[in-house]
Amino acid sequence: MTWNLTVIIICILLFVITAWLEYRRSNGSRLILRIIVSLIAIAALACLALPVTYKGKNSINGGADAALLTPGYHIDSLSHAGAKLIFTTDKDVLKTYPKATFLNTLQDLNAIYPAIKQLHILGYGLDDDDLKQLDKIPVVFHDPPAPGGILAVNWQKQLKAGELFQVQGKFNNTSSKPVRLLFKGLNTPLDSVNIPTRKITDFELTTVPKTPGNITYTLLAIDGKDTIENESVPVIIERAQQVKVLILASSPGFETRFLKNWLSQNGCAVAVRETISKDKISEDFINTEKQSLAHLSAALLNKFDVVIGDLSALKALNSSESSALRQQVSQSGLGVIIRSDSLTKETSWLQNNFKVTTYASKTQLTVPLAIQDQKFKNAPLNIDPSYISNNNNIQNLVLDLQNHILASSAIYGTGKLVYTTLHNTYTWQLAGNNKDYTALWSILISKAARKSPPEQSFAVASAVPASQLPVQLQIQSGSAPVQLSVNNIPVSAVQNAIIPYEWKFDYWPENAGWQQIILNKKVINSWYLYQKDNWAPLKYASRREKTQHYLDKRAKSLSVTKQIQNLTSIAVPKMYFYSVLIAACAFLWIERKLHP
């Protein structure tokens, strides 16, 4: 301030002296013009010394730009952004670019360098937590191309023994060589797929796990000889829980007999009620205690998970039996597998969703079947040409090659109805083809079977839990999970305000590997903690998406404040004042030379 005042006083004095000298000059012509010109010259001189500014819109090269380096940034893009201040919050990035200033949190940025005009985010962007700290800093996100590698992946976290384990995802191959994805389990290659060059390709890798328990599979991406990704694929394989089956048959038959034998060999509890003559039934009990099957009551049905019956046997049930069955299915989730036949014309509630068309003119066909979730075609089977017509309420389980439906399931209340027109599946067993028989009946029974009563279910809410980062875990339980611990470290869960049976808690894990969830001193579940560098492309892709999304959302709310922020004082370039001063001085000098 004093400087400004000093300059102004000196300039005024200078003007007074100059004006006085001009006035005193012997040649008095053009006095007014000379005084004005000297006033202009002195004013220009003063402006050179004084900081002359004006309010106006900020131009880009005028402000102090900063760059924030995040993983995956490119050094060329840094020079392109032209930022002077360079920050990073990632220690790995700091190693690659030591000149950058390290920030513990982005909040520091606001505190230490409030004058930042614009923050250029280079690389794949920021995490959720970091994004929240961005606050009101104007940000430019230089959206990088999608990272090379696995961009998305999913697999079943828990499996039953004998089920197909499928890993599906998207791979971005940015290199000029085709990449081979290799799926390994127990150090043995199980499946592989080739990804063509420069393309995002969907992939699917499958295997049937041979051992139960917590197993970590490996997914390798191999580019020629180099391994570019090595990811863990953890899965929990549970032993199959045995099913209790009641078979109703209107007459003895091979199909029933083979089904009974196969179920009992698998350790299932089987009870069979076969009508062998008028008012005469034969009862078989395998792996279950004797009980009278003469009358089906709700209590009796409650002991079984699935009822398998031919349609005429189910229709022949008397009204009390029928209503007990209906109530069990709709209220308690009992499953019924209905084997169609055409003995009686009357319709039943079991058939509501299943309209069967029979081509009487055609004889028996021998066709291979396509079973749901089954990758390979199975051996041909003799089938009757009667097919279930498709509708929106049914899920198709078994099809033939022309996509005729041979078995499908529908929901009835809380239970499931499975309807099949296959009658000769025992011929597979006769031919020694146990594999296809097992596949077919496993899916029919598993689809129909009553779901077991719940205890707790558990889930990891964080996408890729890694060590040194908080992991969100979630438990669904009827009662409050007290005495809950992870790896013997007690944790307390908080109840969801809206969903009363959901409980959440955060956990800071240490070592990678399987972590145990313990409730009431019992291990109820396990979850897997990844190595820190696992699934890097996946994380980058999600960061990139989140950052983009966050900034898009913020852009609208920030548009007003941005303008105010930008209306700042801008210094007028001194060049103009120099030229004015020189022009004025030149005039005065020439004027004196021409008119002495």
Partner: protein
Amino acid sequence: MAEHKGLNKIKKLQWTWIGYQLLSDTLFAIAVAAVLGSLCYYLLKWPGWCMPVIFILVSGSLFAVHRPWKIATGKICSFLNISYPELEESSDLIIKPANSLNLLEQLQLKRVEFALARVPDQPKAFTKRTKKAGLLVILAFVLSFAISKTGYEWHSTGGLVQCSSKAHGENSPPEKVLAQIESVSIKITPPAYTGRLSRQQDRFIINCEEGAEIDWAIHTNVGITQAFLIFNEKEKINLISFNNDKTRWEAKKIINQTGFYQVSIDGTLSDFYQVQVLKDGPPVIRIKSPKQYTHIDAGEVPKVSLSATLNDDYGIADALIYATVAKGSGEAVKFKEYKINFNTSFKQHNRQYDVQKLFDLPALNMEPGDELYFYIEAQDNHRQKSRTDVYIISVQDTAQLLSMDGLVTGSNIKPEYFRSERQIILDTERLLKERDSISQDVFKTRCNDLGTDQKLLRLRYGKFLGEEDESGKEGSDELNKAENFSNTQMIMDAYTDKHDNAEDATFLEPAIKQQLKATLTEMWKAELQLRMYKPNDALPFEYKALRLLKDLQQKSRSYVAKTGYNPPPLKIEKRLSGDLSKISQPINQKDIKAAADHFEIFKKSIAVLEELKYTPALNHNDVITLQLAKQQLSAKASAEPGIYLPAVSALQHIVSTDKKVNTTDIAVIEKAIQKALPAVSSQPSISQNSADLGLSQQYYKNLNHVNR
């Protein structure tokens, strides 16, 4: 004269030079061809003729560049001028024509000729290049010899049986050997039947023939008190010390089984070493001819040639044909056995033999109707035998074919047809028998008559098939009658060929029709031969026709055995009453335990190993699990050591050491277990409901309520 002398000398020098140039170029070419050719032949496995081709190419191009034959006398002169100063730069004078020389030149010529006489016939400069080339050839030969040696090594590592053990030693990773062992020398003596020589190796891993004798000679660097070899973790063999220092230990064993072994020195156990046994397969016999069933029709030559190839790994010791002739039929069947040698001698014990044998059926006392069963049995050096399937040769029984038994008793037949074909056969045979006693004309006439008979018979059968009637009743009288004038039907009947009548087409079944057609074909052929006065050739066709006819006749018959069943008397009062009250309802109950899982211990040990990857500490139960898994794996390893042995030693390593567990060990074990476990098939199972405080249950209830 002197002038000629000089000129001759120069010419001589010219030719010598040309000769040397040619020689050196050729030598160059040889050297290049030797090196390049051996490279191509031994390393790139090109055929052998590439060497001369390279030689021709190189020498051709060298000649084309140098053109040694174009060396002129002028060039020789300038060479002489440079190399021999006494010629005073004037040797050119010699080749100039004498009359063109002036006086001074003539004088100089004389001096030059004098000096030229002293120039050696083979100047050193001439041979210089040749010598170099010669040296190069020697070098090239040495080089190509070296290449051939390395090339052989290359070959041998490719899997030749002779050097397999040596090659194996070079390629496979070094073995882990106990610290006390300085060196080992294992002598493998293959059994005599292989005809192989014994060999030495300095590695513990053994690949040997079945029944080979193995001698271990182990040198230790310090004196030790005792040493064993432990086979498959069970069998123990003492090593015996052979010197006072107790540093030389030996043992001997005959190996018959694949497995593994360990060396134990003073209580410390070595790594597992695998023993791979090459089993001697039984001989392989392949019969090229005859076919499995051979039928010799009457009239065909009763000879069958047998040709077969025999193969074995090490050598075939012997092979025989075991033949059985079956005579007669029904209960009167008789068998006679023969052992027939091949004409080939098997004394050389070659790996492969091609053998032939001609069966002369009459020589084996075979008559029509008899059957010959035979098989080949071969024995190899190891006295392993193998035999082929039984092959059957049958000779047609004409006697039965001609018998009337089946025909007379049959119900729905027309005997005269069949008698006719049979009669033709009998007549043909009689004609053949009487051939020598009758004149040529009579023979031909009778032969032709038989042909006519055959034709008539054929036409008669042809009617059944709706074939054309060849009776030829053209322009019948019926058509000429006035009332038939412009009767279209009748005219058409007369002038058209009528095949395949609808009526005839349904007369016989298609299969029978087809066979009948085949019969007619045979009849055609028989007639052809008869018409050509060759009754001998006609006989087989006649027989065949008869056989087919007889088959046809047999087909139309069926037999139903008489059955006798006496039902118990019915209680009339109970009949049709539907009373089941006294029939009890069957109730069965059983418990079927699921079959014990043999691989349970593997599954458990996988769980232990997976845990071990993250928490490197084993508790007592884990150790027991791993011990049990090791037992099962070592049982598998004794059958397939190549696959399971590394896993056994890795398990041993994990169980025995307290140190941090090696992840590669875990990987090796997991890989072996994954291989050992069978594929899991899906099982019916129950899924779990979510724990939702009965929310979904409530939802269904309310939904039902609303729907009502």
